[in-house]
Symmetry: C2
């Protein structure tokens, strides 16, 4: 199996590269605008790395032509808050970028494209039911708008050109080395800051509950979705869920795992009000039913592995 | 009031131009890729017409800078079936085009942008309820995918940049001069062919019911939406509905209005199967409640006016 991974030097991307390498992929190509291969660590020398911009169609066509992958894992793009700060760059990276990937797959005969979308596509006009794959997607941020468009384009390319497009919608991803700011990333920050002996202040209510997914489960989900038999893929795009701890529960666990951890709360009312509107429980039954998705890291396993990673691979997450 | 109308030489666009001219707009600029001003008829000499391509940002920036409109009525783009035949052109016209219009509005300080979307944004994963503004939008065609993206981008520009973006989702538009092929356009074709003394064969079941909107109601809706007080605009994007005749009811009415009309049925099973899945009743209560929308043409008034238009302005619809 040969694969191209866009965004392959990033948080989830590098973990997908690692997961595919472990499963014996014969050739892996990473396409990323970022030239740091820090997260790829010891894999940086065994995968092909092509620096480039998703918004530049010639660069995308070029890397797809050269690597001739069986599957494109399209994880690249600008994240939520950077996109909100620069929607013009996000339009190119996220909307044009996904179009460029689908077009390159069509032109060069790549049979499968896997796409990562977000729980941020659900935001406005929600009712009281848990979020599932039939919930209205009405994003508030530009990032979410581009992701919905990517899902819809992928479904169209699936129907029109027979490209086996499939996608996931991730909840908040937790893992070592998270640097991008985000309103629910007190989770990763709390664990990493505490491991480094620093005090951490959580900005949401102690009883606030957010659905998480450990980065290794996220990467495995993407690879398992790609490997599922095509006849099982009916919904095409799938929301995923892992543990849903309250901020207090996560803080208690971190304090138990890291003696001396100093964690307190100071609520940011603006963030809290926004989260109160948009955070809902997640029902990922379609992914579970159709291709057997299930998370393997419960909250304790997540924190344990996070701390092990930090101590075993400090250079990877520095 | 000065306005820029993209797609202003088209079916709805020309009628919007006519409606604004009747209401005493001081300056109207039409931006369209089509250089035929046939539908604008006697107005072609009194409005400014700029031929250009929505996908070319410099052309869009240029016409917005030169015309300095109070409102942009953004009706331009590629329609449903042409988009399906050439998604690459549709990506430029519909996705990049709407982005270009929003960016031009931001850069040149246009305070209001009105957008036309489509009932085609509702298609897959529908439940049994009537379609309203809270129904899941999961389009099957590229046209619908671009329209959902346009709605989401507009809502984002509204929040981020304070542009007073508002939009409508049209059902099947009926009017003289409809040439673009479409699976439910037996409606307009039946009336016009019968008026011209030609036999017409309807390709859906006689009892098939489709929600229509007369082109003059569609144009008035757009202008009234633009004029509504800003505090009443909560939903932002609104589905609209007019009469919902069965194919048989419309045929009976046309035969009554045009003695000697010859209309019969020959069902296209493929189109019928697709329509059976995607056609639902439409509930436009949000538009009615928030800004007082209501259609003025019932089915009989629609057919009467259609026939009057054809006889009074044959050159406009030739």
């Amino acid at each position: 199996m040969e694969a191209l991974i866009t965004g392959g030097t990033g948080l989830i991307g590098a973990e997908v590269v690692r997961t595919l390498a472990k499963r014996g992929a014969s050739k892996l190509t990473v396409f990323d605008i970022n030239d740091s291969t820090q997260r790829l660590d010891e894999l940086a020398t065994s995968v092909t790395i092509q620096q480039g911009d998703l918004g530049e169609s010639r660069q995308v066509l070029d890397v797809v032509r050269k690597s001739q992958p069986d599957v494109i894992y399209h994880l690249g793009g600008m994240l939520s808050l950077p996109s909100d700060n620069n929607p013009q760059a996000a339009f190119l990276a996220n909307a044009v970028g996904t179009y460029n990937v689908l077009e390159a797959a069509r032109i060069h005969g790549v049979s499968k494209v896997i796409f990562s979308s977000t729980i941020g596509t659900y935001c406005q006009d929600l009712d009281d039911r848990p979020i599932d794959d039939l919930t209205l997607q009405r994003p508030m941020l530009f990032y979410g708008a581009c992701k919905v468009f990517g899902e819809h384009m992928g479904m169209f390319y699936r129907r029109k050109y027979g490209i086996d497009f499939r996608g996931v919608r991730f909840p908040s991803i937790v893992g070592p080395g998270v640097r991008t700011p985000g309103s629910v990333q007190y989770t990763s920050h709390m664990i990493e800051e505490s491991a480094n002996g620093r005090h951490f202040t959580i900005w949401v209510r102690p009883e606030m509950r957010v659905t998480l997914l450990y980065v290794k489960d996220a990467a495995r989900a993407i690879v398992e979705l790609a490997e599922a038999p095509v006849e099982q893929i009916q919904m095409v795009n799938y929301v995923l869920a892992g543990p849903s701890p309250s901020a207090q529960e996560l803080a208690d666990l971190v304090e138990r795992k890291i003696p001396g951890a100093r964690i307190d709360f100071e609520i940011d009312q603006e963030i809290q009000a926004r989260l109160d509107k948009s955070i809902h429980p997640i029902d990922d039954r379609f992914a579970r039913d159709e291709w057997g998705w299930q998370p393997t890291y419960d909250l304790e396993a997540l924190v344990d592995d996070f701390l092990t990673e930090l101590s075993q691979h400090p250079q990877r997450y520095a």
